[in-house]
């Protein structure tokens, strides 16, 4: 239901070499105004490098980076309408919290009073009201993070860049900060570009995500599409868990593809379930663990049903993960079940019925 927003950042075939090393290999993408955008990928894929080309810390070898329609070639970092929250937070240790937050206002023509008020507002926004006079080097990780946010947001940049801002925090505070960042982004309406290698974090926080591998964007989509319709096996593997089974394409027309999968039989798939990118290994189908359901006594499948044997049980409290080897398949499939009240946890070796639906799977070829 969202109206297509104008583009805030545009990459046009951006390449970056570090000596002989090809770190960015033709990035073409755009980031919309006011969206929470994430760059997600494994370590060393070039996320930080791409972020730094927006900030102006890293020059590009070819291509163009545009911010709000302006080509940034030759524009230095201190003249770009972007601000950055660094992974190490980069809080100036010899200044107070207040001086840190107000640092970017030095060249601002406003009066001293107005600046003081702006600093106080910024501190309040990040939940650090009354911390202004503290020495910056005496803050906790979470507090530093907030100071870094306030310091960057006080300049009202067009784009806020965040390089793994939560990776140094422990799990509880990280989850709390994730929600707070989302709230903050909605409040200020600034375009956020977040770098992360944590797929869960990206799914939770982003409007759209670019998944990167080895200097290239493998898929750019909203979290749901990314999860339900990953564009390649590699993306599917990186985001969440997916069961893969070898498949054989038996018939094909303009809108449908028919496949034969051992243990599941013949299936009639619609076009939007068919992806390229199986990595040249023939074809395979993928199931997410929650799209398969173990049927308990008396339950009826909504679509199809197979028989299998439980080979592994992993209990997580709210969930149980079962590995089930379906009759006729080679490898066990991972199935996740919510531990609803009154439902038993099954044992290894139990024979069980499994419900599934061809509509939930994705074909990679």
């Amino acid at each position: 239901m969202t109206i297509e927003k104008p583009e805030m950042i545009e990459f046009r075939d951006v390449h970056k070499y570090y000596g002989d090393y090809h770190a960015l290999r033709g990035i073409t993408a755009s980031i919309r105004a006011g969206e929470f955008f994430s760059l997600l990928g494994p370590s060393g894929c070039g996320k930080t490098t791409l972020l730094r080309t927006i900030a102006g810390f890293e020059g590009i070898s070819s291509g163009a980076v545009l911010i709000d329609g302006k080509n940034m070639a030759g524009v230095p970092a201190n003249k770009r309408p972007t601000n950055m929250v660094f992974q190490s937070y980069a809080i100036f240790p010899h200044l107070t919290v207040e001086e840190n937050v107000g640092f970017g206002l030095r060249r601002d023509p406003r009066s001293k009073d107005e600046k003081t008020r702006a600093v106080a507002e910024a501190l309040e926004m990040v939940g650090l009201k009354g911390y202004g006079k503290r020495a910056a080097h005496a803050l906790s990780g979470g507090q530093r993070q907030r100071v870094a946010l306030a310091r960057a947001l006080i300049l009202k940049p067009k784009v806020l860049l965040l390089d793994e801002p939560l990776s140094a925090l422990d799990k509880k505070i990280r989850e709390q900060m994730q929600l707070e960042l989302i709230r903050l982004q909605r409040e200020v309406g600034i375009t956020f570009v977040l770098v992360t290698h944590d797929q869960e974090e990206a799914l939770v926080m982003s409007d759209r995500i670019a998944v990167m591998f080895e200097g290239e964007i493998a898929q750019l989509a909203d979290p749901e599409t990314l999860y339900r319709r990953p564009a390649s096996r590699k993306v599917a593997d990186f985001i969440g868990t997916m069961n893969f089974l070898p498949a054989k394409v038996v018939a094909e027309d303009a809108n449908h593809t028919d496949v034969e999968v051992a243990g599941f039989g013949r299936m009639h798939l619609s076009k939007d379930q068919v992806m390229a990118g199986n990595g040249g290994e023939g074809a395979s189908v993928g199931f997410r663990p929650e799209t398969l359901t173990i049927l308990f006594d008396g339950q009826q499948p909504t679509d199809r049903e197979s028989m299998g044997t439980i080979t592994e049980v992993v209990y997580y409290g709210d969930m149980t993960y079962y590995d089930v080897k379906l009759d006729g398949t080679e490898e066990p499939m991972r199935i996740s079940m919510r531990n609803v009240f009154g439902r038993p946890v099954l044992d290894i070796g139990t024979r069980t019925r499994v419900a599934w639906s061809p509509g939930a799977l994705v074909l990679f070829r």
């Binding site: 190490s88 100036f92 080097h137």
Partner: protein, 269 residues
């Protein structure tokens, strides 16, 4: 137990050997006799007053101070440039160049002094305070680089980037962020090179011409037995001054590391 005993004994002998002669300095500086021998004959401050009245000594002190202050300032300035360059930028033959700059640290001073003398005389330069400053800058610079590199090294690069990002120019970033954070290192470098220059003898002896520095003056006075107690008095003052300056230098170096949030990787003291 037994092992610990031997170590204690070793430490005791070591420290006695190191500090006993220095403790003798003030002992004889306040002793009422021209001969340096036990038993002590009485307390006097005579040697200190005599010291203050000597015009050649005053001139030597003045020369030494001029040389030490100039050498400290010049060597530290050079050290700032070199450490900044070596810790932040990559350039061809960096290792080789830095090695050459640090070489005087291990080169015998007498070799440095003699070669400088030959070159300066060959060039027809008159020996003066300036030539001593030149020599002292040469031997102090490696020390300043060693101290300042550790200060620049412990500086997180993203601090600089954050300052650019917030609208500062490279020059104002240097002034507002880098300089304050390495200031303790700079002060400690100034103090240490000042101390090195102040009691350096060989280069000063070779290059001073007719302008003796304090150590050269002291050496020349040892020919006259009557002057020895005065030298003891002077030595007492110098030892106190050196200890004071080195302590201040180390305090500043440690404070610098604590401030920029780095880990102490061991300094000079």
């Amino acid at each position: 137990m037994f092992k610990g005993g031997w170590f204690k004994l070793y430490a005791l002998v070591y420290l006695t050997f190191l500090y006993a002669p220095i403790i003798l300095l003030p002992l004889f500086a306040f002793n009422d006799a021209t001969v340096i021998a036990f038993p002590l004959s009485g307390f006097t401050t005579h040697w200190f007053t005599e010291m203050l009245a000597d015009p050649t000594l005053k001139q030597a002190v003045k020369n030494s101070l001029i040389i030490a202050v100039s050498s400290a300032v010049i060597a530290t300035t050079l050290g700032i440039f070199a450490s900044r360059a070596s810790t932040r930028y990559e350039f061809p033959a960096k290792g080789g160049i830095m090695g050459l700059i640090m070489l005087p640290l291990v080169l015998p001073e007498i070799i440095v002094a003699v070669s400088l003398l030959v070159v300066l005389l060959g060039l027809g330069v008159n020996l003066s305070i300036l030539t001593v400053i030149l020599g002292h800058v040469l031997i102090c610079t490696p020390f300043t680089i060693a101290i300042l590199s550790s200060a620049f090294q412990s500086l997180d690069k993203s601090l600089e980037e954050a300052a650019y990002d917030l609208g500062e120019t490279p020059a104002s970033t240097f002034r507002l962020i880098i300089l304050p954070l390495v200031m303790p290192g700079i002060i400690s470098s100034l103090l240490i090179s000042f101390t090195i220059s102040l009691d350096e003898f060989i280069i000063a002896f070779f290059l001073a011409g007719t302008e003796p520095t304090l150590p050269v003056y002291i050496f020349s006075q040892f020919r006259f037995p009557s002057a020895v107690p005065v030298i003891m008095a002077l030595g007492t003052i110098l030892v106190c001054l050196s200890i004071l300056l080195l302590t201040i230098a180390e305090i500043f170096r440690r404070r610098g590391i604590a401030k920029s949030g780095g880990k102490d990787t061991g300094g000079f003291l």
